[in-house]
């Protein structure tokens, strides 16, 4: 009797679980649709409705901040940005699952061809919106400022320079007391855009020392790998005589480590958002028309231009975004993103703003969207 009941309960529970999991399997797909009227509040033009976007996790914090600001002002708008990674973000944009994509590297050639098709002829364009800087963080007691040039940096990160008092380092830092200690070098053990950009910089500026292909995975010998910028930062903080590369914001909040100045030939430049912004605004536009794909000049030697930078883009349809994916809201949101207020917020968040002529071009490209 009791057993029968138990079995019945068990059977019912089992069936219930199956039903539940069956229900949970269906995710909602497709983008929001309802768009309504618009009104202007300060920098923000409010457009009702909802959009989906996905892509780069590097710019996720910036985009999330902008979305929060936008949605607080515009109650009728819902913007959903999923930090799924650049590759997946571009894929979803091309497959017309999202209204725009966030990507660490500008969409090129075959991606653009596919994206143009998705935009009904479009064209699809890249808009640089969020910049970043990579800082070389070091932890050496008693050394408050450190200058490195590309060859020395590449030497340290390829383990050909292994001591802090190596002549190459002391020559650049005549006033510093550098210890006779082994350099504990930390890099990323996971695949990352940070490694990609850092190795691109080394490959462009120190080709004689850095003889490896730049890429998302660390391939140089020696040193120690840590997972994520947070762990690299923590490793540098907790290991005496160490050095590593991280996004600028990490070293700004570190109690122990400091950021090295980089001397590309025009004198040492400190790692700050403002100095990095100078490099980004001086980058050459290699895209056509309103496609603002950039080519960063890593070898820049202008005083006050910090050279180890990266740019993340929004991949959008200049025209031809389907009406049910709410082109008006995309445009209004990007107008806000390119505003002085939104770009100014980037510095505080450890990002690098787009400035100068480049920002003017970005704004013009956003205005041309329809």
């Amino acid at each position: 009797m009791t057993r029968t009941r138990l079995a019945a309960i068990a059977a019912a529970t089992f069936a219930g679980a199956l039903l539940l999991s069956a229900c949970g399997g269906s995710g909602d797909s497709g983008s929001g649709s309802d768009s309504g009227g618009s009104n202007v509040v300060g920098d923000i033009t409010c457009v009702d409705g909802s959009i989906k976007a996905a892509g780069s996790s590097a710019q996720a914090n910036a985009i999330t901040q902008w979305i929060t600001d936008y949605q607080i002002t515009c109650e009728g708008a819902t913007i959903d940005y999923q930090p799924v990674g650049s590759g997946a973000g571009v894929e979803q944009f091309i497959a017309a699952q999202t209204s725009f994509a966030g990507t660490d590297s500008a969409m090129k050639d075959e991606d653009l061809v596919a994206a143009n098709e998705r935009c009904g002829g479009g064209p699809a364009i890249n808009l640089p919106m969020v910049g970043g800087a990579i800082a070389v963080a070091y932890n050496v007691e008693g050394v408050d400022s450190l200058v490195l040039n590309p060859d020395t940096l590449a030497g340290i990160f390829t383990s050909t320079i292994t001591k802090w008092n190596d002549p190459a380092i002391t020559a650049l830092n005549p006033d510093a007391t550098l210890p006779d200690a082994t350099i504990a070098q930390f890099h990323r053990s996971d695949s990352s855009g940070t490694t990609d950009n850092f190795t691109k910089y080394l490959a462009a500026t120190a080709p004689g020392v850095w003889t490896f292909e730049p890429g998302k995975d660390w391939v140089a010998p020696g040193g120690q790998g840590s997972k994520g910028s947070d762990q690299v930062m923590a490793s540098v903080d907790s290991t005496p005589n160490s050095i590593g590369y991280v996004e600028l914001s990490y070293v700004l909040y570190s109690q122990v480590a400091k950021a090295a100045s980089i001397d590309n030939g025009g004198g040492p430049v400190e790692a700050t958002s403002e100095n990095a912004a100078n490099t980004i605004s001086g980058a050459e536009v290699v895209g056509e028309g309103n496609n603002l794909a950039l080519k960063i000049d890593y070898a820049v030697s202008t005083p006050g231009a910090y050279p180890i930078v990266l740019v993340t883009y929004e991949g959008v349809c200049q025209t031809g975004l389907a009406a049910d994916q709410n082109p008006a809201l995309v445009k209004a949101f990007l107008q806000y993103a390119a505003s002085d207020a939104a770009q100014g917020d980037l510095i505080e968040a450890g990002y690098v703003p787009i400035t100068g002529d480049l920002l003017t071009k970005v704004r013009a490209a956003v205005e041309a969207m329809s």
């Binding site: 590759g87 996971d190 695949s191 890429g215 290991t239």
Partner: protein, 328 residues
């Protein structure tokens, strides 16, 4: 009769009930559920194997290097170059170190709890060891990295200074953090509860008569353990070690945090380096491209087979020993 009776079945003595031939709805339901549960495991295992093979094939075909002997892992480069040599080496090497450390200590804990400790102390200790198994592995990883590592570094330095003539303890880099030894130590702590809990279960099942007979014949406690406990428990002790090994082989996030993830085969356990299948998957999956993901799944397939072989050889050892140990 079997369909309408309201009497409890246990009071009846008819052979029909004992043989299990009585078919009531509850029996049938339960038979169905338990058979289903049993089959479900097989179906899940088969589905995993099929999925892994299916997803792994494209990358293995695209690989321009030998999948088994190549040490680099660049599946998304053009052409793709990747192989499991380093991952296989690192996985086995860290797990072996973990086993060498954890198995003797685990047996020791189990013997102490089963034969030496007072009852109250024994149950408290058993509870605490079991609690260790409930700690999430990310906690072990972070704890190992920030709290444990500073204490291991002097130990590593001591090892390389005094035992450096043995190649595996040598350290030419003068760096002691993020080493295979470090990962092995943390893994050892993680598999300790598995090893000690299972061997404890086996030790307490040693027939009381054997134990008392040994003691009555004048054996000391250690002789009793050697003569009465070990022969009886050997299969269980082996399976305890093998289950520990299984956990060590597949451990992911703690190893990913601790190891330096270098793609080179380095026997020196105090130098930074090492890598493992599971850690590599965790580190590379997020940014991997199409071939990259397939390649990671291919490496997962290899780990799947290694774990299968480990478990099967454990079963084989147990089965071979069963006859003359008297267990089960």
């Amino acid at each position: 009769m079997a369909t309408t009776s309201h009497e409890p079945t246990t009071t009846r003595a008819d052979p029909e009930g004992i043989s299990g031939a009585a078919v009531r709805r509850g029996d049938r339901t339960f038979l169905g559920l338990s058979t289903g549960a049993g089959l479900l495991v097989l179906v899940v295992m088969a589905a995993i194997a099929v999925f892994l093979v299916w997803k792994a094939i494209p990358s293995i075909q695209a690989d321009s290097a030998n999948f088994f002997t190549e040490g680099q892992w660049l599946p998304d480069s053009d052409p793709p170059v990747f192989g499991i040599a380093v991952l296989l080496f690192g996985t086995l090497w860290t797990s072996i170190i973990a086993l060498v450390i954890a198995v003797p200590i685990g047996y020791g804990i189990a013997l102490f709890i089963a034969f030496y400790a007072q009852r109250r102390l024994a149950s408290t200790l058993a509870f605490i060891v079991d609690l260790l198994a409930a700690v999430p592995s990310i906690i072990f990883g972070l704890w190992g990295l920030y709290n444990f590592m500073p204490y291991v570094v002097p130990f590593s330095q001591w090892l390389s200074e005094y035992l450096g003539f043995i190649p595996i303890f040598a350290n030419s880099q003068e760096l002691w953090t993020k080493s295979i030894l470090m990962a092995g130590l943390v893994l050892a702590i993680m598999i300790l509860p598995t090893v000690s809990a299972i061997s404890r279960e086996v030790f307490v099942q040693v027939p009381r008569m054997h134990v008392e007979a040994a003691l009555a014949l004048g054996a000391t406690r250690w002789e009793m353990i050697r003569m009465a406990v070990f022969p009886f428990s050997r299969p269980g002790m082996i399976s305890a070690a093998m289950l520990g090994l299984g956990r060590a082989l597949g451990e992911t996030i703690a190893v990913a945090l601790i190891l330096s993830a270098a793609f080179e085969i380095n026997w020196a356990i105090t130098e930074p380096g090492g890598n493992s299948f599971a850690a590599n998957i965790a580190l590379k999956w997020g940014e991997a491209g199409e071939v990259g993901r397939s390649a990671l799944i291919a490496s997962g397939l290899v780990l799947f087979f290694i774990t299968l072989v480990v478990n099967m050889s454990a079963r084989w050892v147990i089965a071979r020993r069963k006859d003359f140990s008297g267990a089960n």
